[in-house]
């Protein structure tokens, strides 16, 4: 029995998203930025911390979005890259006394290399097979970090404690607030860079591969190079997010980076809209706040409540926040006429 035909002309796993639909307009972006700049001035420290985490997970979701929404490759292994980034930052800060800001580019570069190398064998795989390979990476990572061999650096099961940085130049700010603005600056920088990346020649190559690999290679796109490059870029950004996460949480431990994190990031991407970069922040808000809301509604059934809420979201908007944004845009367009 075979369910597979010799010739399959099905649609690609990830729908084609036009290049322009991947970003927000200039005006909307400025309003968003202003909001993100002003909100922390009016809320408590704990909420500022949550907002920082929102930005950090937003970055990680954005990274997955470039990989899946951009180049059409699926990954359940983002938690592994996140863990490598977090540990790189933590080890450099605690063992080498390096400045926290300097550890981030190093975390990014190491993760880029890691992702690029992982992309090589992953080239042969696609769809569920790739999902399984990345999944294996995600399950192996916490175990690898616990190995006695690395214990001197990683602190084994105990993990490492990271000191939170003070605001520099004697700025009159709490640590949380400084870290928020620091994270915001990096997030905005990476967001702008990602938008430009997807608009560039490389971005077009990613999307050509996503939409049709064979056609892309016939057009002269170096499929192997760009696929691994997408993995590298995605891992690099995730690594920076991981480093920031380690600084914000002030703690790294192997069990903080299990497959659950990778699944959360995946859910964030779906809720935000696959291939729509601004949606990353919406998805990140979903994975940070909805579990808390579910817990608030019912302690014993929090998993069920979370599941039902997730079902509601995908029933109402199967294409995620992108769909909401598109409907809103059409409404605004009608009002203008």
């Amino acid at each position: 029995m075979s369910a597979v035909e010799d010739v399959v002309t099905e649609a690609p796993a990830v729908e084609a998203v036009p290049k322009r639909a991947m970003t927000l307009g200039f005006g909307t972006s400025l309003v968003m930025l202003a909001l993100l700049l002003l909100v922390p001035l009016f809320v408590k420290n704990f909420i500022i911390f949550q907002l920082t985490m929102l930005l950090i997970y937003g970055l990680a979701v954005l990274a997955l979005n470039i990989l899946t929404g951009g180049s059409g490759q699926f990954s359940l292994g983002q938690s592994a890259f996140y863990a490598v980034g977090a540990y790189t930052s933590a080890i450099l800060m605690e063992h080498a006394d390096m400045n926290y800001a300097l550890t981030l580019p190093i975390a990014g570069i190491i993760c880029f290399a890691f992702g690029f190398l992982f992309g090589q064998p992953a080239l042969r795989l696609s769809g569920v097979y790739l999902a399984l390979a990345t999944f294996a990476l995600a399950t192996a990572m916490p175990q690898l970090l616990k190995l006695g061999f690395f214990e001197h650096w990683t602190g084994g099961v105990q993990g490492l404690v990271v000191t939170k940085p003070d605001a520099p130049f004697g700025l009159p700010m709490s640590q949380d607030m400084w870290l928020y603005y620091f994270t915001l600056a990096i997030t905005v920088g990476i967001y702008v860079a990602s938008v430009n990346l997807l608009r560039s020649r490389s971005g077009r190559a990613f999307m050509a591969i996503r939409d049709n690999e064979i056609a892309a290679s016939a057009m002269g796109v170096d499929v192997a190079l760009y696929k691994t490059l997408a993995f590298g870029v995605s891992a690099g950004i995730t690594g920076v997010a991981g480093g920031l996460g380690a600084i914000a949480v002030q703690f790294v431990a192997p069990d903080g980076y299990t497959i659950t994190l990778a699944i959360s990031l995946f859910l964030g991407m779906v809720v935000g809209g696959v291939g729509w970069l601004p949606g990353s922040i919406v998805g990140s808000a979903f994975i940070i706040f909805v579990p808390n809301i579910a817990e608030g509604i019912s302690k014993g059934l929090s998993g069920a409540v979370f599941g039902v809420l997730l079902f509601l979201v995908i029933f109402l908007v199967p294409h995620g926040a992108r769909q909401v944004a598109m409907v809103a845009q059409q409404l605004v367009g009608k009002l203008k006429k």
Binding site: M1, S2, A3, V4, E5, D6, V7, V8, T9, A13, V14, E15, T68, F74, P121, R124, L125, S126, V128, Y129, A131, L132, A133, F135, A136, T139, A140, Q143, L144, K146, N212, E213, I214, A215, A218, I263, F266, L267, M269, V270, V271, V274, G300, L301, S302, G303, A304, V305, F306, G307, V308, L310, F311, I314, F315, P318, H319, G320
Partner: protein
Amino acid sequence: MELFTNQVLAGIATGAIYACMALAVVMIYQAIDHLNFAQGEMAMFSTFISWQMMQWGIPYWGAFVLTLAFSFAGGIVIERLLFKPLAKAPILTNVAGFIALFAIINSVAGLIWDFTIKQYPTPFGSSPFLGSQLISTHQAGMIGVTVLLLILLFFFFQYTRIGLAMRAAASLPESARLVGINTSWMIALGWGMAAAIGSIAGMLIAPVVFLEPNMMGGVLIYGFAAAVLGGLTSPLGAVIGGFLVGIFENLAGTYIPGVGNELKLPIALALIITVLVVKPAGLFGRPIVKRV
């Protein structure tokens, strides 16, 4: 050498569990073209139902048959209520749906039956099988049931009208619809069958791993791995994949120094990926040819 044979035998015994699960995974993959992440939880829930019936005094085989019927109906209901509306949604949205279903079933089972570990009876007894200490009669029975299921499925798909219709609906839905096959109901039927096979797997596995809401977590991962290794398009491949994964896992645990229980899973997965890199469609799967 004796250690080696013993480990292989033990591997076959655990492999039977994975083979059972992998068979259920492949079944649903044939019908709906996705890996169902909630499959293990559905099987766990069915197993709890059968346990509850036995608590109420229904004999084992009575509970077995009733649970089968319940799971079949349950699978169809889940498909009709939750996943039919998502048929036109992107694939990744469907995957998110599976994760949501996973969370719901796990949490509900935990609330009804709580998280304590429960004993589950076996119909085959647990004395040593043919004098071997490594395989019990239960495990031998499990292997027997898996093979029987495989044969039944083969005949179902190969020699019955409805089996043919299901294959047609899965491989070319458009053309199947044109010759009068109700493709939408074929998918529902696939869900029902997968749920029923999953419940058999659950009831066979429960005496070994004990009954609790998280019992399927590890098993499902190995089941997926086995299905992918064998080739997702081939039920026979899935079963062989299951046994291979079981053997791999045991041998790695015995012969590679420093591999405890913790590292067994990553090593088994790494081996599978190595196999996939050489043979991307799995050992027995047919490669899909794409055209522009």
